[in-house]
Symmetry: C2
Subunit: 375 residues, 2 copies
């Protein structure tokens, strides 16, 4: 793995959209006992079921500790690759490398700084050294060269949504927050985005959803289903605590134009009712000064927008409520070309995130280059 | 990674010789503080130098613990792939999978039982669970299917030498020893060899070299330079403590025929003088009930036979003695088609083994199938 001194933009590399073809996915076995209830056993069962669905579409690697290798290997289908890696917690999307590709079908990685969602100012656990190493170790493992920003700027995979045609949507609260990048101006941040993700236009929202432990990741707010078209978390209930932020997001997005000068088509997807961790689950979390406590009174940010693309499909988290059907039917209408697949990941959402936070995609640069050529 | 219920022989797979083309090599970062002097720092420096040589010939992966990843990554050339894996100690050849290939250029792995060179009856450390998992985890990591003998028979990579044309040389003391396979007869062991390595003929020596902590691995005694031709550790000094075992080995080998009915050509390579760990090195080893103590009075088995093939070359360990030149010159004459390369691995030999024990080869099945077709 070479560490390059140039930037992706200089080298003709850019970050492709998540709805484009992918080569494989990565998941991390949830096993941290001070963040996952009851040794993570229910969360692990959920992961096994999600894994069975993903391998119908593409290859999957699951990372776990040395101590959990035997157990994870035995419980996962043999088509899944299981690889030991020490990681501080299981949210792969946020700490993974950003893959950038070029039109010749080549791929490299970008590694960012990491501080567990805010470091000592409200971050979720301590220390976070293994998380910080994750992106580098993953690129090393798979022999991809990297551009390294780990000492330059803190940024998380769940904090960005791109259309692959030059447009990025982010929230100020998760990027410009004092607990992430107090040393950088908005302009400097935009410059990193443009140089290292190959972008031209940044659309800034003020904040993400309320109750989001990540300080408002965009991946609970909206995602691109194709260039120029997004789905957005929504509620018509003005008394819903999520209303103010989502209304503000909508107002910004409806007036925005993308890198190509297009207005965005916006589909509003109703959010499910607020969720809480149960007292029994909270009781099953280890008491530790190294991780934020789990409080059954603390509401959690939940949304269907934390869905996850696979080749030919979309994995949509279910919350056992009437809104499930509305979301499924809307996604089917908006993406008739995709299989819309229900996954039962409520246990994960009780711990602060869902499938888009847990899984990490690796694009298929050759397939994407071929698509682009045939356009 | 599928676990197959058939045998390699049934499926048309066999184990290729070590002198044939290879795809990559594996090394394990020496870091166990109760077996390597002074935190393994000198042994690690030696590994970095060996790595620089290996990558001139083929790809190399180095495994290390999570704690040593940052250090190993920074010290190794960027062409080397560094991958986290928890392993009990660093002798990769012995605990690695045996790779088997077929004539279509496909490859699979065989995993054997492991008990750290003798388990609770004279084994070198305890526990050995991570070592036992190593071969499986390596195949899983690289997506090769496996034949699993881990609950059937204990066997180590350094305990065998093959010609790739049906012949195996092993020592009784390292295989039939009560501390390895007390439950198996010689016939049953031979049957495993034949079915899982694709062999027809087993040549049994009584024992390996004296002072060998492994109970007499064959990789200190002889290796095939090509089918029908071996190099053998040797001394003409009848008072040398190595003489009796080497004379017995020679007598057996000179009368043996291989799987093709050929007599073996035998080249005798003089051994260097006996080696001891220095008192300073021994003092730098952690005191622990989990590992055999290091005693400066304990003589060590040393030989040039513990050399290691790379594509186009042979890495030969140097011991800073006049015998170094004799060995180098003899190898040059015997293998004029290869570059004979000196490596300075005395620090490793002080700890019980050398380059052939430390490194693990992965054959290149497509190159070998092509060679076979063009014959």
């Amino acid at each position: 793995m070479r560490t390059l001194k140039t930037t992706p933009k200089q080298d003709g590399f850019y970050m492709p959209a998540e709805f484009l073809p992918r080569k494989q996915d990565f998941l991390i076995w949830p096993e941290r006992q001070d963040t996952w209830p009851n040794g993570g056993k229910v969360a692990q069962k959920v992961l096994v079921e999600v894994a069975k669905e993903i391998i119908k579409h593409e290859a999957l690697t699951v990372f776990c500790s040395a101590d959990q290798y035997e157990n994870a290997r035995a419980r996962l289908p043999e088509e899944v690759r299981v690889v030991e890696m020490t990681i501080d917690d299981a949210w792969a999307q946020d700490k993974g490398p950003f893959y950038v590709i070029n039109d010749e079908g080549e791929m490299r990685g970008v590694t960012w700084g990491w501080n567990a969602y805010g470091g000592l100012e409200g971050g979720l656990y301590f220390p976070w050294k293994r998380d910080q190493e994750f992106a580098t170790k993953l690129l090393d493992l798979e022999n991809y060269d990297r551009y390294n920003l780990s000492d330059k700027m803190v940024f998380e995979g769940g904090a960005m949504q791109i259309d692959g045609e030059g447009t990025l949507i982010v929230t100020e609260n998760s990027v410009l927050n004092h607990n992430r990048n107090p040393h950088l101006t908005k302009e400097e941040v935009e410059n990193y985005f443009k140089e290292y993700m190959g972008l031209e236009k940044v659309i800034w929202l003020k904040d993400g959803m309320a109750f989001d432990e990540t300080d408002g990741h965009i991946d609970d707010v909206c995602f691109f289903v194709r260039p120029g078209e997004i789905v957005l978390s929504w509620t018509d209930d003005e008394t819903n605590p999520q209303y103010p932020n989502l209304k503000a997001a909508y107002d910004t997005l409806k007036d925005a134009t993308d890198a190509k000068g297009r207005k965005l088509i916006i589909h509003k997807i109703p959010i499910p009712p607020v969720l809480h961790i149960t007292p029994e689950q909270a009781e099953g979390v280890d008491i530790s000064e190294s991780a934020a406590p789990r409080d059954p009174n603390m509401p959690l940010a939940v949304t269907y927008i934390n869905s996850y693309f696979v080749n030919g499909g979309l994995l949509v988290p279910m919350y056992d409520c009437p809104e499930d059907e509305i979301a499924i039917n809307m996604f089917k209408e908006i993406m008739p070309e995709r299989e819309i697949i229900r996954i039962y990941t409520k246990e994960w959402s009780m711990c602060g995130g869902n499938i888009h936070c847990m899984a990490l995609q690796q694009p298929d640069p050759e397939a994407i280059a071929a698509l682009k050529k045939n356009k």
